[in-house]
């Protein structure tokens, strides 16, 4: 498909009627079906899994998954979601023209960074790994914020700057908690151990970690209380997204079950990106396929690319004389960082056809909204 030929011609959909700023909550306007949106995109499934894990014997139940089965699940969901951002980038109408560095320059730069990291694996490679681990919770936070705001817009909720600030604090708290908590990445990457082990620094850090942990769990409650008492009436899925992310970085991390969070994060991402891809493709003038065809094509391409990137690529370095340990670890770190960068661009709403998909509104309104980062 030639992106140059793509001119967004989304048929005019009746605009969402302005919803008065009432108090309380609403189901919100979902993309596919409330059950699907709440469980998969909202992260409701992960909350169910967290409850199962917290129940007596729960961690044993989930840890009985054999390693190969879990590896397959990771490939089909988490690793596929990394590939999804790349495929979305290259299939997004107008991407080459709008984002020339991202589409054409970044791949080569990524390769150069990986080659340097492989050559100096114990120094540069270790820093690349720490960059990935430090950035990762921010990426999760940004995805939660992006989805929260997206559902607000889609439900016709007008967010005041203070509402947005509260949403931002709610979504960023888990990142800050992970940043100060460490270990190794986050603050421990920037500040030497000799400083961090000073009694005063340790005391301040402990207070910060506990405080941010508490904030992570309490701000969603404050957000709900504000919506209930003063409005605007938030779509409940906004709160589900925020609470899910908070649970991933607190409860699942505490139970050494964070691998499950990566599965739910990937599932959430695959679902929303597939919806955007399908709607873009359905809006093309020469489209001859049904939505299921586009969804299946997109997902299978994601799995195939994930397999090549994560399972085949490292062996090229092994063939060149490196060990699989450094090859596999640094390929994972590099793909993650590439994914974080690409994601920060492909979800922008301002002056972007993405906005019409979110709201179903006519193109003319697309310029008035803020950026939703990812």
């Amino acid at each position: 498909m030639s992106a140059a030929a793509v001119v967004p011609t989304v048929p005019a959909v009746p605009a969402v009627s302005a919803v008065p700023a009432t108090r309380g909550f609403r189901l919100g306007r979902t993309f596919l079906h409330p059950a699907f949106d709440y469980l998969v995109i909202g992260g409701g499934l992960s909350l169910v899994a967290t409850v199962v894990l917290l129940a007596p014997g729960g961690s044993q139940r989930l840890s009985t998954w054999s390693a190969p089965v879990f590896a397959l699940l990771l490939l089909l969901v988490n690793l596929a979601h990394f590939a999804a951002s790349t495929i979305r980038l290259y299939t997004k109408p107008g991407a080459y023209k709008e984002l020339p560095f991202l589409t054409m320059g970044l791949p080569l730069l990524t390769l150069v960074v990986l080659f340097v990291a492989m050559r100096y694996a114990e120094t540069v490679g270790a820093h690349l790994m720490n960059l990935y681990f430090t950035w990762s919770p921010y990426h999760y936070a940004a995805q939660a914020y992006g989805l929260s705001v997206m559902y607000c817009y889609r439900s016709g909720v007008s967010l005041e700057p203070r509402d947005k600030l509260l949403l931002r604090v709610a979504c960023l708290s888990p990142f800050l908690y992970a940043f100060f908590r460490g270990p190794v990445a986050g603050i421990e990457w920037f500040v030497p151990a000799t400083v961090l082990t000073l009694p005063a620094v340790t005391a301040v850090r402990t207070v910060l970690v506990y405080g941010l942990g508490g904030l992570t769990l309490l701000v969603p409650v404050a957000l709900a209380a504000r919506a209930w008492r003063r409005g605007p009436a938030l779509p409940v899925i906004t709160l589900v997204v925020i609470v899910s992310n908070a649970m991933w970085w607190t409860a699942l991390m505490y139970m050494n079950a964070f691998a499950w969070a990566t599965v739910f994060h990937g599932l959430q991402y695959l679902a929303i990106v597939s919806i955007f891809h399908v709607r873009d493709q359905m809006g093309l003038p020469d489209n001859r396929h049904r939505p299921l065809y586009h969804a299946a094509w997109f997902y299978l391409a994601c799995v195939a690319l994930a397999y090549v990137l994560f399972k085949v690529w490292p062996y090229a370095f092994v063939a060149a004389g490196f060990g699989l340990a450094e090859a596999a670890l640094l390929v994972v770190a590099t793909i993650n960082i590439h994914h974080f960068i690409v994601d920060a661009y492909i979800w922008r709403l301002r002056r972007d056809p993405n906005y019409r998909i979110v709201t179903g509104q006519a193109p003319a309104l697309s310029e008035r909204v803020a950026v939703v980062p990812a």
């Binding site: 030639s2 992106a3 140059a4 030929a5 390693a67 190969p68 590896a71 397959l72 490939l75 080459y96 023209k97 020339p100 560095f101 589409t103 054409m104 320059g105 791949p107 080569l108 390769l111 694996a121 114990e122 490679g125 270790a126 790994m129 720490n130 681990f133 460490g182 270990p183 190794v184 990445a185 151990a193 961090l196 082990t197 397999y307 090549v308 399972k311 085949v312 690529w313 490292p314 062996y315 090229a316 370095f317 092994v318 063939a319 060149a320 060990g323 699989l324 340990a325 450094e326 090859a327 596999a328 670890l329 640094l330 994972v332």
Partner: protein
């Protein structure tokens, strides 16, 4: 490519296009090389469950410990937050008879993860197994300072004290351990040994009995203790 970026290209677009073509060529080469390498070497496609430690585990299966250690060491140095990799490396180094390296790894882990009770506790047991009981005691106590509920560190304090014949300390440590878990047969057994060595034989027998009741594997100690109790006291 021309169709991708439009007919009127500026210099920067031409540069981007060249970078893109070069990048795609390099990526394809890498993928083909990786695929060919696995197909020629193992006669199969790369496994979907391949991990960073797959090669190390393969070396271990073939008995090539030095190369397995090299892989584990590299993984531990790059992925410094992965405590499990470091722990497995330490175990492997011990199995190849390199206790100093085992201590180095455990100490490096402790330095990397100073807020993790498990890193201090693990170092404590490495010291203990290498008969460095004073160092072990310090590490176990640091683990307890971070996590007072770390029962294995509490056990370590008792064991290190027992080895150094600091019997009141050992008795106190085991009593604290039993205060948290009365059904800990090993703690009853160790407390019994400390009490017997302190000359408090009747109390010791009681704890040996409790240990044997909870775990019949400790019955031999009980028999020995009863025989000793029957013998004249020194």
């Amino acid at each position: 490519m021309t169709g991708l970026v439009g007919p009127t290209l500026g210099a920067s677009h031409r540069l981007y296009r060249a970078a893109f073509v070069l990048g795609v060529a390099l990526y394809l080469s890498c993928f083909l090389l990786g695929l060919a390498y696995e197909l020629l070497r193992d006669k199969r496609l790369p496994a979907y469950d391949m991990s960073a430690l797959s090669q190390a585990q393969e070396f271990l299966r073939r008995g090539d410990l030095p190369r397995a250690v090299q892989q584990y060491r590299m993984a531990a140095r790059i992925d410094r937050g992965n405590y499990d990799t470091s722990r497995r490396l330490a175990e492997m180094l011990k199995s190849v008879g390199d206790p100093s390296a085992e201590i180095d790894v455990a100490e490096a882990d402790r330095d990397r993860l100073p807020r993790l009770a498990a890193s201090h506790r693990a170092l404590g047991w490495v010291y203990y197994q290498n008969r460095l009981f004073d160092e072990a005691d310090v590490s176990f106590r640091q683990a307890l300072a971070i996590d007072p509920g770390d029962l294995e560190a509490q056990r370590g304090v008792g064991e290190a004290a027992l080895e150094r014949r600091r019997l009141p300390e050992a008795i106190e440590a085991y009593r604290q351990l039993l205060g948290r878990n009365q059904a800990d047969a090993a703690a009853h057994n160790s407390l019994a040994i400390a009490l017997m060595q302190s000359g408090r034989r009747e109390e010791g027998i009681q704890h040996f009995e409790e240990a044997a009741r909870l775990d019949p594997g400790f019955a031999t100690n009980l028999q020995h203790a009863r025989q000793e109790l029957g013998a004249p006291r020194p």
